[in-house]
Structures are given as structure tokens and as C-alpha cells.
Subunit: 335 residues, 2 copies
């Protein structure tokens, strides 16, 4: 069982696994890396991972067998588990609780060599719809405060399995990063009585210098103060704090722009490693007035070094106005 521990100085929780390596050489990995020809996510290997929670399947196909377009399964090596009580306790001046939570894997496609960028838009739509279904389901568990959906693409970005997948971790606490965003957005709202993210959209559409593309429902742009080269945000034009309140038509349009952006990144940077994280309101917090869901895509082209870890500052060698220009120029010929 893992444990959640809070740093006594800053408001930062850490998940400490307790069942892993016992020799120093074992300590380096959070989970096994599958290499060589065997893939635990390919059709035919369904029994390698825990039984599916959700699947989009051909009619007539059996659960946990082939015939699926997308599957959601529990992580076989979960960082947290929902089978324990929280058991919040102090330990002298320290605070801890059991590693309660949910850790799921979204296997995005049965095809081993397809990526989220190269699959048809209908496949991306399936993936986003699965995110929505799982967040809605988990938000009904009163013990959980927030769900983080993220994707690690490429070994450098932390992927331990090549087969295209994303992950969901739901936790009994609201993570620091989300808390800080809520606080910043609330400050802006108190002062200006407007949504900060709506203001960002308005300014980016006005200046155009960091815009990449826009549809009737979304914009994609390079943020003003990006931590990483080619960092890209996708945000809905209509104010909405929760991703999971998006309807079918909204998910369709999100899939179109996400697929477009990932293809542009592939064209400009030749299949770069990247992470993306869906930033959506916590399950049990009324922040509809001032929070605005969005997706942050972070290509991993630079190394994070001591200065970044020690200061919280980032050094980015690339003005977002330049990366936005490259991303605009990378629009597909076909449109």
C-alpha cells in the first residue's frame, strides 16, 4: 500500500510507494518498462492487465477479449488504490494518509503503432469521450476530490509502454497545482468580476501573436509565459469550469482541434516526446464563476535542472511568439 505524505514546509503532497524495490537498483523505476516485442496493451493480451472498467467494442465481442476500439483498465501497478481507508494521521509535525485513490489506464487504440496524432479524428473523439465518462463516474465517489487526466508520449516524457495510452489518477485531495490555479483565478475574479481565462482568450484573439488556430468552439495558442518550448494550450471559447460537462458536439470539436495540434507538433518537431494534462475543476468545489477548463500540452525538448527545481522558475529558450508562428505555418496542406 502506498502512502500520501505532505511536505511540512510547502503545500506539496507526495505519493510514496512501499512495495517496490528493496535494492538501490530497483528504486529507480515507478513501474516496469515493457520492451521488446511483447505489448500488454495489444489485442490478445487482455488478460495481462486487470479486467476492463469501460470499453468501446464491436457488437457481439466479449468483455476482456478482442474486438474493442478503446479500453479503460485499472493500472496494474497503481500509485494509489481505492480499497483502503484514508486513515489521516499526524506523525509528530508531519501529515500523512493512506494512498487512497484510483489509477486507471485509457488504452486509446488496439493498433500498436498508431498514435493520438496519427489516428482518425473519430478515434480521438472516443478517447475524449472515455475521459468524460470516467471523470463523471469517479466524481460520484464522495471520497475523491479531483481527477487528473494526463498522457505521457515517448520515453523521455515518462511513458513506460509504447502502445498509445493515457492515464487518470483520482485523489482524495486537490493537488497543489490545481489549488494554485483556482486561487489565481479567484483573485482575478474578485478584482475584476471576470474569468481570467476568458480574459486570456480575448487578449490572445485580439493580439494574434501567439495564436495557432481557432474553430467556432476552441482556440489553440502558445501561452504568454510557457515553461517549455512549444507548450500549447487548447481552451474552449465558452466559459465552463468542468471538462466533463462538455456535450457530444463539444467533444467532437475538441477532438478536431486536438488532433490538428498534435499533427502540427509532429510536423514541426518530428514526433516529439510530450505530456499533456487536462485541467478541470475539482469534483466538489463550486468554481463555475471563475475557473475555465483547458488542456496544456508540454513537449519535452529541454532538461529540467537544479535551477528549476530549486526556484520554481523555468528557463525557456523559445519565445512563444516564435513557436506559434512555426505552429501556424505547420497547418496541413489539405486544410
Amino acid at each position: 500500500m502506498s502512502e500520501l505524505r505532505k511536505d511540512p514546509v510547502v503545500d506539496r503532497w507526495v505519493i510514496i510507494s512501499k512495495e517496490r524495490g528493496r535494492r538501490p537498483s530497483d528504486f529507480a523505476t515507478t513501474e516496469p518498462v515493457y520492451s521488446g516485442s511483447f505489448c500488454p496493451f495489444c489485442p490478445g493480451n487482455e488478460d495481462i492487465v486487470p479486467p476492463e472498467i469501460l470499453a468501446y467494442r464491436d457488437s457481439g465481442s466479449q468483455p476482456n477479449g478482442p474486438g474493442w476500439r478503446l479500453r479503460v483498465v485499472p493500472n496494474k501497478f497503481p500509485a494509489v488504490t481505492d480499497s483502503v481507508d484514508l486513515d489521516k494521521r499526524g506523525d509528530g509535525i508531519y501529515d500523512r494518509m493512506n494512498g487512497m485513490g484510483v489509477h486507471e489506464v485509457i488504452i486509446e487504440t488496439p493498433k500498436h503503432d498508431v498514435t493520438l496524432a496519427s489516428m482518425p479524428v473519430s478515434g480521438v473523439e472516443d478517447v475524449l469521450w472515455a475521459y468524460r465518462e470516467r471523470l463523471l463516474a469517479l466524481s460520484r465517489d464522495d471520497r475523491l476530490q479531483s481527477g487528473i487526466i494526463f498522457k505521457n508520449h515517448g520515453v523521455v516524457a515518462g511513458a513506460s509502454v509504447n502502445h498509445s495510452h493515457s492515464q487518470l489518477i483520482a485523489l482524495p485531495v486537490v493537488p497543489k497545482q490545481i489549488k494554485e490555479e483556482l486561487k489565481g483565478a479567484l483573485n482575478h475574479y474578485h478584482y475584476r468580476e471576470r474569468c481570467l481565462f476568458c480574459d486570456i482568450i480575448y487578449q490572445e484573439l485580439g493580439s494574434q501573436t501567439r495564436m495557432i488556430c481557432e474553430s467556432d468552439a476552441f482556440i489553440a495558442f502558445s501561452p504568454y509565459a510557457p515553461r517549455f518550448p512549444f507548450e500549447t494550450w487548447i481552451i474552449p471559447k465558452t466559459h465552463q469550469s468542468r471538462f466533463e460537462d462538455t456535450d457530444k458536439a463539444g467533444i467532437e470539436r475538441f477532438a478536431v482541434i486536438l488532433s490538428d495540434i498534435l499533427q502540427r507538433l509532429d510536423r514541426v518537431l518530428d514526433n516529439p516526446p510530450y505530456n499533456f494534462v487536462l485541467h478541470s475543476a475539482p469534483f466538489r468545489q463550486d468554481c463555475n464563476a471563475y475557473y475555465h477548463w483547458h488542456l496544456e500540452i508540454m513537449p519535452k525538448l529541454t532538461r529540467i535542472a537544479g535551477f528549476e527545481w530549486g526556484s520554481g522558475f523555468h528557463i525557456n529558450p523559445t519565445p512563444p511568439e516564435e513557436t506559434a508562428r512555426f505552429m501556424r505555418d505547420a497547418a496541413a496542406q489539405a486544410g
Copy 2:
């Protein structure tokens, strides 16, 4: 010239370089990586880097020539520069200022193959004394608010030159990470009228489970909620907010325990990549009552992935009680 830009949502500054690559392939690096046989930090190549700011030299040797034990030089590819005005301005809803600051390199030894772990303790003492001298000098520049000393050891940890060195970046703002530490420590002080770090030292010495070693002046331990496997903190037993107020005897004793810990890491993990960051009070803030300087050493054995970037949570596969045991067992035979 670089620019400091503030994220509009969270209190995070980013240094954006503006003179670098113009093609996407150029964007990936913050500075050139010297490879092959040429080393810009070796004796005889003094003219490759800017003129020295400080050097510990043999008597009779000439500045910017051979005959040194340690040199401090301006970074040839600085993230910030002190030759510009701040020029703080808004840009619509965004905030920016010029990339004003100081970026120096401490070349720790003339010997290309020696590391901070393998050099004699007297060499480590020179390095720490140079940190002290430079922080004291820069703290007299009214424009600067804080100085961050950090070291990147190994390519994975972000080192672009193999030759053993550390860096100093001094800035006109207090970085987010330091602000958060000050805030957490002040909260504790308001509630308990004690230094949080002194309380941590007391608890660690009492429980012993995360202790690695102690001397009359310092303790080294695995922190309760480490972000990284084998993360190790070294902290003076005597309450003091500023590293640079340490006297000669204190620096000598700090060198002994730092050398010891780096050697233990080498023994347990076989010369791991690591970062360390000196956490010391900002130049112009009276936090003597509640802040306590320390060094955080972070081996880089795991990859930071989407979940960490999106949540601020870390997943650490290694309980600090286990890593402390390995580190205790790695004490040198000779004592």
C-alpha cells in the same frame, strides 16, 4: 536580451530567451553542449569564457591564466544579464520585465575528471567559500532580491559541460519556490512561535528512522515527503536563515558532511546524476526568526511525467526510511 514573464494564473515567472534558435531544431537547447575532447573549463582555455570574477590561485599566477584552484566566471550564455534596466511593464493582462540578473559559473576544480564527491574536502571547502563570497557580494546590489546556487551533475540532471561546476543565478524577484517555503515557515512560526526547520531537526534526531549522519554542526537526512528517490537534505543544527552568514569554521564542517553524503550517493547509486540547490533567505527580507538555510540534493533516477507537471504531486517509489538505511550503511570503511 531575455525577458521575465509571469504566468497570469499562478505566481510563476519564466525566463524567455530571445536571441537563440530560429529553426525548430535550435529550440531544444538552452546552451551549447561541449562534447568531444575540448573543455572550456580546463586550465589553458581560460580565454574561452568571460574574465574571472573571483579566483583562488597560486601566489604569483596571473588572472585569467592557469595556476588556479577555483574560478568564478560570468556564464557565457547567461539566462539573465545585469546590463539592462528592469523596465517592468504590463502587456494587457500580462506582466513582464527585462531579463535583469546575474548568472555566474563556479568552476570547482582545474582537474577535468574530478567531481565534487571525489575531490579532497579542502576543495569542497573552497567551493562553499566561493558560494559565500559571491552571495555576499551580490547581496549588496540593491536591484537583486535573491541568489540561487545550484549544481547540475550529469547530462540527465541538465549539465551541459562535464567539468565539475556549479552555478549562481541572482534575480530581481524572489522565486516562487522560496516564497512558498517562507510562507510555510512563517505560518508555523505564527502558530507555534518556533522555527519549522528546527522542529524538523528535533523530530528527525528523535526518531532516527530517516537520519543518515550527523556532526556537531549539521545533520543529513532523507526528508519525510521526498519528491525524488534518495533525496537528501543537509541542514545546520544551529538556527540561521542565511547560508552566507556561516563563518569559516561552519563552512569547514559543512564541507565535511557534504563530501561524505556525495560519496555515499556515489557508493550506493554508482555516480548518479543529481541536482542540488542551496536554500537560503532572500537578500532583503527579514526572516531570521523563522527561516533556516539548508541544502537539498536530488538524485535524478526517475522521470518526471505528465502527472507531476499537471498536479504538483510527485510519485516516489522509495520510502525515505529505506533510502536512509542504504545511505547509513554506505558510510566509508575508514569512517
